[in-house]
């Protein structure tokens, strides 16, 4: 085990002794993901912007804003009235909601209060925002209604000591009702065969983040073939295998070192994807780690196999880059596979990059978990077994 770790450590020490390696490990992938993401219109929040002016400032108004914040449709942007009006005029958002002062008092007195909702004419997003506001009011209204009924019933059983006790009971009832409504079972209505919406296969930010990870991790892992070629050229492989180091220990050490570094790189790039592009990699950590590990294994195995076909470091370097770039392109790392002709989509299933992108899209695009990525992870592990077998059988020290 110590020898495996020593080889892994040495390989990375040699690899990162060149300052240029940091450029490819971290700097360029981050720049590329941000540039590609922004160039293709990535936003950190893809929801519809809703300008909100809270003139009331009370608890009920805050509750309404919180419900809207949790919406999957609108992203609340709070401003003063003048600022909100200016932004609306500048078309920075398709809708504006003003919560007037006196909302809490009116609600306590059982009076009706009118919220002001302004929307851009003929704008689909504005319609969606209006529906989101209505849904939020409905949700909040149901909680208020339940709390009111509860309050009346409680007062009939035993009158409240004072107004503070009454308010506290009402507030507690409202919170509980809101929590219960939020936790209610999902209703599933099957209306017909599922139709794939564009957003199911394409969002610029997820595409940029996943595509960058696959491309920039795949190419260096293919370049493990350079390690083998370099060791042969230097004569260090000959020296290593004349020491009490078996072929298996040597291969495991080299593979462990590069796989470990690749996993770290993927986690760092996923972190940047979350921070800079708002991509969710972490809602099911097991799914993310599984697909990263399976992809890393398939890639490093491919590199190992490639290393047995090349003679020099130059050959390995050129071949890794050419194969890596073309497999990344065909695997859907730069453009969604769904944009390719159907026969191409089927043909590229022979590439590990395709399965890696499919698995990663399950996570970041569709928000799915471990169960969803198991087929892709299985396919990638299958690639790993085949590539490793060929690589180990063909491996020679010179």
């Amino acid at each position: 085990m110590n020898k495996i770790l020593a080889i892994a450590f040495k390989d990375n020490f040699v690899r990162f002794s060149s300052p240029g390696e940091w450029l490819f490990f971290l700097v360029l992938p981050v720049i590329f993901s941000v540039v590609i993401g922004l160039a293709t219109g990535a936003q950190t929040d893809s929801r519809i912007a809703l300008l909100v002016v809270d003139q009331d400032g009370g608890e009920l108004a805050r509750d309404l804003i919180d419900v809207l914040q949790d919406s999957k449709t609108v992203a609340v942007r709070e401003y003063l009235l003048s600022e909100a009006e200016e932004k609306f005029r500048e078309r920075q958002a398709p809708a504006m909601l003003v919560i007037p002062a006196g909302l809490a008092e009116a609600q306590a007195g059982g009076e009706e209060v009118e919220l002001q909702f302004t929307e851009a004419a003929g704008n689909v997003d504005a319609v969606a925002a209006r529906q989101a506001v209505q849904a939020a009011l409905g949700s909040l209204g149901r909680a208020l209604q339940a709390a009111g009924v509860s309050l009346t019933a409680a007062a009939e059983i035993r009158p409240f000591a004072d107004q503070a006790a009454r308010d506290a009971f009402f507030q507690d009832g409202k919170d509980k009702a809101a929590a219960l409504f939020a936790d209610q079972p999902e209703r599933i209505l099957v209306t017909g065969p599922a139709q794939k919406a564009e957003e199911d296969f394409w969002r610029p930010n997820t595409q940029a983040s996943a595509g960058t990870i696959v491309t920039w991790v795949f190419i260096p892992l293919l370049a493990i073939s350079e390690f083998f070629a370099l060791e042969r050229q230097l004569g260090t492989l000959r020296r290593m295998l004349s020491a009490p180091v078996s072929k298996a220990v040597y291969l495991l050490g080299t593979i462990t070192g590069q796989l470990g570094t690749a996993l770290l790189q993927m986690l760092i790039l996923a972190g940047f994807g979350t921070l800079l592009l708002g991509v969710s990699w972490w809602h099911d950590l097991a799914a993310t780690l599984t697909i990263f590990l399976a992809f890393g294994l398939a890639s490093v195995a491919f590199g190992t196999m490639l290393g047995t076909f090349v003679k020099t470091q130059g050959q390995a370097s050129g071949l890794s880059l050419a194969l890596g770039m073309s497999m990344a392109l065909l695997g859907g790392c730069w453009y969604p596979l769904e944009l390719f002709p159907e026969f191409v989509q089927k043909a590229v299933l022979v590439l590990p990059t395709t399965w890696a992108m499919m698995g990663m899209n399950d996570i970041v695009l569709r928000g799915q978990g471990l169960a969803a990525v198991l087929p892709e992870a299985g396919a990638l592990l299958g690639f790993a077994v085949v590539f490793f077998t060929v690589g180990v059988l063909r491996f020679r020290y010179e």
Binding site: G235, R239, S242, P244
Partner: protein, 316 residues
């Protein structure tokens, strides 16, 4: 003396090659000796080392290192031997210390023992001051010395030095030869391959001459030179070009001189014993008034042995 290495009819046939690279080589190395395997490039020296260091599987035969077969017990053999390959088998972007530490780890060394050995071996190769510098900043000779250090770090019983002086300057070459002598004086057994006969002559207690994959001669320097008979070559430089033929004819009649021929200002003699014949040779020249301005005596060497055995010069 007991053998630490016994090579038994070793054969290596590469796939597709018409002839075996090594063809039935047998020899033994005694504990504590320097044994040289001398032969031209392509003779089979490195292939032999490859099989002895368990990198290449022999097609036939076997080699036993301190009781362990390279065929059946390679892991035990690897622990007993040290390899100094012909190439500089080091990581250029690492320092000498980092390289040595890594190779120490590969032999299962570690901790304070490894640190002590690294300090000691750097001292032995005279690179203590440069130990923390990257190897790619070293001269060719310094690289060679660290290359040797990496093969000796684990204190092997038997070390294989595969042409360790190829492509370096005379001073570095001298340093390496002195280092080999010093290591041998400390009791280390060395198998030294070279195509430089001077190195083999200087270092070795015994020499094996290999050519076209076959061991064609084996013995001490004396034993080998006896193969060609003890004939020395005397070269006389004379002042007068025209006196050459006359002098050659006269010297051909001197006792112990086998042949004499002249060429420009030079007369070349082949004698049974140069030391015995030289006084009379000078006397004959003086008697004829021919001024001798230089004398060069060459005793038989491995070059002559190789020429005698193969009909080719060693460096052909």
């Amino acid at each position: 003396m007991a053998l630490i290495l016994e090579v038994q009819d070793l054969v290596k046939q590469y796939p597709g090659a018409a002839e075996p690279a090594v063809n039935g080589v047998s020899f033994g190395i005694r504990r504590g000796e320097v044994f040289s395997l001398l032969g031209p490039n392509g003779a089979g020296k490195t292939t032999t080392i490859g099989m002895l260091s368990c990198l290449l599987k022999p097609t036939g035969g076997d080699a036993i290192v301190d009781g362990h077969s390279v065929r059946t017990d390679p892991e035990a053999v690897k622990r007993l031997i040290g390899i100094v390959p012909q190439d500089i088998a080091l990581y250029p972007s690492l320092s000498a210390r980092e390289n040595l530490r890594f190779w120490g780890w590969m032999y299962g060394l570690g901790g304070k023992d490894l640190a002590r050995r690294i300090d000691a071996i750097l001292e032995t190769v005279g690179l203590t001051d440069r130990g923390n510098d990257r190897v790619d900043s070293y001269s060719g000779g310094m690289k060679r010395r660290i290359n040797i250090a990496a093969g000796l770090l684990h204190e092997p019983k038997l070390v294989f030095l595969d042409e360790p002086t190829v492509g370096i300057d005379p001073q570095s070459r001298r340093n390496i030869l002195e280092m080999v002598k010093a290591l041998n004086a400390q009791g280390m057994t060395v198998l030294y391959t070279t195509h430089y006969m001077e190195e083999a002559q200087e270092l070795s207690q015994r020499i094996g001459i290999i050519d076209n994959g076959k061991l064609i001669a084996l013995g001490t320097l004396d034993e080998l030179t006896r193969l060609v008979g003890r004939q020395d070559e005397i070269e006389l430089k004379i002042a007068s070009e025209h006196a050459g033929p006359e002098l050659a004819e006269a010297l051909g009649k001197v006792k112990g001189v086998r042949s004499a021929r002249s060429e420009d200002h030079t007369v070349r003699l082949v004698a049974d014993d140069a030391n015995a014949s030289l006084p009379e040779v000078i006397g004959v020249a003086n008697a004829r008034g021919i001024k001798v301005i230089g004398i060069d005596v060459r005793e038989p060497n491995l070059e002559a042995v190789f020429l005698h055995l193969t009909g080719r010069a060693l460096r052909d």
